[in-house]
């Protein structure tokens, strides 16, 4: 194979990016994977061991439980955000409310709000004296469903995390869905309407089939982002169960248990790489075409 001048230029232009990726992403990843077997690239002593994996996979392992909790809460947050976001984007597409043009900027604010600030803002709403907590608990107690206030933040059910995540992910979902929905030929909708289709039929027969790849890919992006984000579960999560990334953080900073942190890291990589691969492999190129 002959390397042409064009190839050489491509390589030179891409080289800094590759060096960056190797040093700052690839080496750390190798370090995590080797570290989970007890092999240390930069530390002092190495000993080959499977102890981390035994501990992780043990039936009463807090790590395994934590992984399930992470996936479970992230999945719920994703479903809520995607459903609400898609419906709202469709509403904007069909009705084209004139007021929207004036307020749409507000909608982008959560996209640029630091997660830690978002998490903190929701904490102030959900802690026992926060507005939402007062309203929800007041309502539930008046209805006689509960007898003492329900903890809505730092709670064992992940309610606080859900509130914080959905606030950001809903907006992301709307902003991603809005583009592809605008690309749909409005004549299709007029045609369907004149043939007697109702709004629900238009959604299920026109909108969803034409945007299905962007729905799948957006779900993947949101699920991955929710699983990976640390700030929200760190601030809004309870003392137990915790997101796996919070466990990893605590292992590294408080107990210095690098072996378990690395092992959890490997499982985290496997979980997100699998998800990422499935979705990106089959949808990304189509989505780029759809959203552009």
């Amino acid at each position: 194979m002959k390397i042409t001048k064009e190839d050489l230029i491509s390589i030179i232009f891409l080289l800094p990016l590759y060096i960056f990726l190797i040093v700052v992403v690839f080496i750390p990843l190798v370090n995590v994977v080797l570290g989970s077997f007890g092999i240390s690239l930069f530390g002092e002593e190495s000993r080959l061991t499977l102890e981390g994996y035994y501990k992780f996979m043990a039936p009463d392992s807090p790590y395994l439980y934590s992984l399930f909790f992470t996936i479970y809460i992230s999945a719920i947050a994703t479903v809520i955000s995607i459903l609400a976001g898609y419906l709202f984007a469709i509403y904007l597409t069909i009705k084209k409310p004139p007021v929207w043009r004036r307020v749409s900027t507000i909608m982008t604010i959560p996209l640029f709000t630091p997660y830690i600030v978002g998490a903190f803002m929701w904490w102030t709403l959900l802690f026992p004296r926060g507005y939402i907590s007062l309203v929800i608990n007041g309502l539930l107690m008046r209805l006689g469903l509960i007898h003492e206030p329900l903890p809505l933040v730092n709670d064992p059910y992940g309610i606080g995390i859900l509130f914080g995540e959905v606030w950001i992910r809903f907006v992301i979902a709307v902003s991603i869905f809005y583009g592809p929905l605008q690309m749909i030929n409005p004549e299709l909708i007029d045609a369907a309407r004149s043939l007697g289709a109702n709004t629900w039929q238009i959604i299920t027969k026109i909108f969803i089939p034409l945007t299905k790849y962007s729905i799948i890919a957006t779900s993947a992006i949101i699920l991955l982002a929710t699983m990976a984000g640390v700030s929200i579960p760190l601030v809004l999560g309870g003392s137990w169960p915790q997101f796996l990334n919070v466990m990893i953080y605590l292992d590294v900073t408080t107990t210095f248990n690098y072996l378990m942190a690395f092992t959890s890291g490997v499982f985290y990589i496997i979980a997100s790489a699998t998800l990422g691969y499935i979705f990106f492999r089959f949808t990304m190129r189509r989505v780029i075409i759809q959203t552009r």
Binding site: L29, V30, T105, F120, T124, V230, G265, G276, R292
Partner: protein, 269 residues
């Protein structure tokens, strides 16, 4: 006529609900930031004022946090652009196997939990004596910014008609001239948007700074976390600090919406 009025009412109701949902957390944040006196049993603060803002500026730690956050962000932006502009150009103009591989690698990066990269970097940084080093935080902040910036820049380069480059090349322009005279004028919006992405990513970056920078270097998000997380909770200074990363964020959102109209154009046009 009657129908139109009804529709308008419904629009107003739906949009208001969504707007309240988006803005309510911010409203409470402002309440905390400006509340000088707020008794536990009352719904609203009794006295508003700037006490907490002056409190924030009086403390050395929080003052330094401003300095670190607002000097790191432009540096991260420049470094990210320096990496992504040449790469984006190649990815957009040569759609070969290498480009697709690169795109996939960078996208994979997005799927990786940052904390995992963080704990992998920590021993490397420790070994090199870079923990708590200001400059060493720049690459750490770039990790999350690169996928977005690169995509924005690649998209911008893709919108340039290929004939233009060929015409310029035929007329004897060098590669550098093609970039400067053909691509730059047509792609600056995408590049600016990518740069702003990197800037705001750096302002928001939390966990890697916490792992690799703290306690020597505390940016604004770390300071906020210190007041919120852990066992002692003082929402007022955290709220006052939050305002200083929220306001630039809102500014960026407006900038994107009104002037750049890229990728996030939510019904603007």
């Amino acid at each position: 006529m009657e129908r139109e009025k009804k529709q308008k009412l419904w629009d107003a109701i739906i949009i208001s609900i969504v707007m309240i949902y988006i803005l309510l957390p911010m409203f409470v944040l402002f309440e905390y930031a400006f509340a000088e006196v707020w008794y536990a049993y009352q719904l609203f603060p009794v006295k508003l004022g700037l006490k907490w803002f002056s409190w924030v500026f009086k403390h050395h730690d929080t003052r330094m946090a401003f300095f670190y956050s607002y000097t790191l962000a432009p540096l991260v932006m420049l470094a990210t652009l320096a990496l992504c502009i040449p790469a984006g150009y190649v990815l957009a103009t040569r759609r070969n196997r290498l480009s697709i591989l690169t795109e996939n690698l960078v996208n994979m990066n997005m799927a990786l939990p940052v904390i995992v990269i963080g704990i992998g970097l920590l021993p490397l940084y420790t070994r090199l004596g870079l923990v708590g080093n200001y400059w060493a935080l720049i690459p750490a902040h770039m990790i999350g910014a690169i996928p977005y910036t690169l995509r924005s820049i690649t998209a911008a380069f893709m919108q340039v008609p290929k004939d233009l480059e060929e015409a310029a090349r035929v007329l004897g322009a060098t590669r550098l001239q093609v970039i400067r005279k053909v691509y730059m004028p047509l792609t600056w919006r995408g590049i600016l948007a990518g740069g702003i992405f990197a800037f705001s990513w750096s302002l928001n970056e939390f966990i890697l700074t916490l792992l690799l920078g703290a306690p020597a270097i505390k940016t604004l998000p770390i300071s906020i976390y210190e007041y919120v997380g852990g066992y002692y909770l003082t929402p007022q200074p955290a709220a006052a600090l939050s305002i200083f990363i929220l306001l630039p964020s809102i500014l960026v959102a407006i900038l994107f919406e009104r002037y750049l109209q890229v990728s996030l154009g939510l019904g603007g046009s």
